[in-house]
Symmetry: C2
Subunit: 338 residues, 2 copies
């Protein structure tokens, strides 16, 4: 079930997130400090729960986007570190709440916080992190950044509710699904990238460019994540092939295989996803159908489309190491699947 993504012409090494990591290294150390300090509380359970997830090895791509997008416009102050930390806290809060809503046992190969401290603690520590995120944003004092990030917070929540309403519903269309991931994933990428030019007092077109870059990168990123769940290098990334299937999650590979299938195959999907018949045997069958209909390849094809849009969004900006690093993240996000 290998999906081959062509490398860009003239490049003979795979795209990497390393240039972005290197360019934001000094600022990210400050973000990591601030994460630890702002996740602190006299209520001992709070740092325990928060750090469990915080220390579990996420890439911290979102705060790096904020830092890079501020530096891209010559920002010199301290606010980008606070906003980047806010963005990461919003993301962490979402993960804590998601695991409760999805009743997940594992995340990135570790027990979820809810399995160790329970659902209530996970919900409330998520709320605490969201509260801390807002305090840091307010502290920065930019009404425009507050506007962008608080709008993202409610859009993410809307996306989660929308996801509930499509959950285990095999009639979910690709458009429905795009609305979900646009809200649930891409909106935070967009906000993370947009607040950089905002605090750097860049012009409106730069804000639009970074917002559009983040939004389309987020869509590509989520689509590849969904493809990875059914193949590619899932194991290397701490994911198990078929997790989404076992949880009855509707993602694009499943939507495409379902819609393109025969009546008998569609009955299988409904049985498997809507009635939760997610045995290993059924997973094998599901993988076979996804393969039969080229659904994984076409999911990656969709991701490439959004990747191209993200690239064109940044096109007008002058060449720089930071810009090149942001562009490389697009390719990296898509090539993860190989």
């Amino acid at each position: 079930m290998g999906v081959v993504i062509p490398l860009e012409e003239g490049k003979n090494k795979p795209a990497s997130v390393k240039p972005l990591v290197d360019l934001t290294k000094a600022d990210m150390e400050r973000v990591n400090q601030l994460i630890l300090s702002k996740a602190g509380s006299d209520v001992q359970m709070i740092p325990e729960v928060a750090n469990h997830l915080i220390s579990s090895g996420g890439k911290r791509l979102r705060p790096m986007l904020t830092l890079a997008s501020a530096s891209l416009f010559g920002y010199q102050g301290d606010h980008h570190v606070k906003l980047a930390t806010s963005v990461e806290f919003m993301h962490t809060a979402t993960l804590l709440h998601d695991d409760v809503v999805d009743e997940s046992d594992l995340r990135r190969g570790k027990s979820t916080a809810r399995m160790i401290w329970g659902n209530q603690a996970s919900v409330l520590v998520g709320d605490f992190l969201l509260g801390q995120a807002f305090r840091m944003m307010v502290d920065v004092g930019s009404m425009e950044a507050l506007d962008v990030l608080s709008a993202a917070a409610s859009v993410i929540a809307e996306g989660e509710v929308l996801q509930l309403s499509v959950a285990k519903n095999m009639e979910t269309t690709e458009d429905d699904y795009l609305s979900v991931i646009r809200a649930k994933t891409a909106a935070l990428f967009a906000a993370a990238a947009e607040v950089g030019p905002i605090i750097a007092n860049a012009d409106k077109s730069s804000r639009s460019a970074l917002r559009s870059y983040g939004m389309n990168l987020g869509l590509a990123f989520q689509l590849v994540d969904d493809a990875l769940d059914y193949g590619g290098k899932a194991a290397d990334l701490g994911k198990n092939v078929g997790d989404d299937f076992r949880e009855g999650k509707i993602t694009l590979p499943v939507i495409l295989a379902y819609r393109r299938g025969t009546e008998g195959e569609r009955a299988f999907w409904r049985e498997a996803i809507e009635n939760g018949e997610s045995s290993e045997e059924n997973l094998e069958k599901a993988l076979g159908l996804i393969n039969k209909y080229g659904a994984l390849n076409d999911t990656i094809g969709r991701a490439l489309h959004y990747g191209t849009m993200a690239r064109d969004a940044l096109a007008p900006l002058p060449a720089s190491l930071l810009k090149a690093a942001l562009l490389e993240v697009i390719d990296f996000s898509i090539q993860r699947v190989n």
Copy 2:
């Protein structure tokens, strides 16, 4: 500046709208009768203005979508003829108002109504047709169809206003532009296709499938229209290459060429579009830049993406001549460019 769209494997003739025309022929004759009768009025100027545009040789793709999408679900009554006529009137009203807003002299190679009867008549006859459209919808008596079509009417108007706000603004992003065409063009395609299953009492997933088909077909259709304006078979279709350029309209070929251009090239675009320096010499230069950056090919690439989404939206429906005809319209809409 030829853009080559591969034909589907195993097919050796180009896609055509003819199967859809043939399958809806009997019903379309009734639609055409109803169009003439409902455009009638004792106020003599109304049928004159209305018929000027109505008789100018549009394909009437939108009402055909309504007829086909009702028949696809076995609809047997008369309501689809009225709704199809409503859809065409909504479209005609938009064109009348558009020509006023854009101060257009020509449409489909003929003088626009505003050039013959003036702006006021064009605005008011548009309003009259919109009113007639609503009366026919109400006459049908389906609250759900009314809901879908009236929502489309306000979304279209929103799209037009949005377009005003991005007009002659070279900083318009691809996302901004997509919002415009989604509202201005694709929303009516979506509504036209969705009301079919509604009056046929088809299930919710069939409604979503047809809506999604219409929406993505509409996006593909508009993107190809925009590409045609800068090349392809524009002349065969009663369009002049460069009309959009002369009117300072921002479409995707221009957005891509602008964003990918050098600082000097961007200055040229601003001068040409924002300051209206649209001489034939500048049009030549614009065409050269669009070619240099592959902007026409990539616009078609975007259209192919939405075409694929439209195709997958219909995938679950059982095979039939009508379904095949609707799918062929997707390819037809895109291959127009060759």
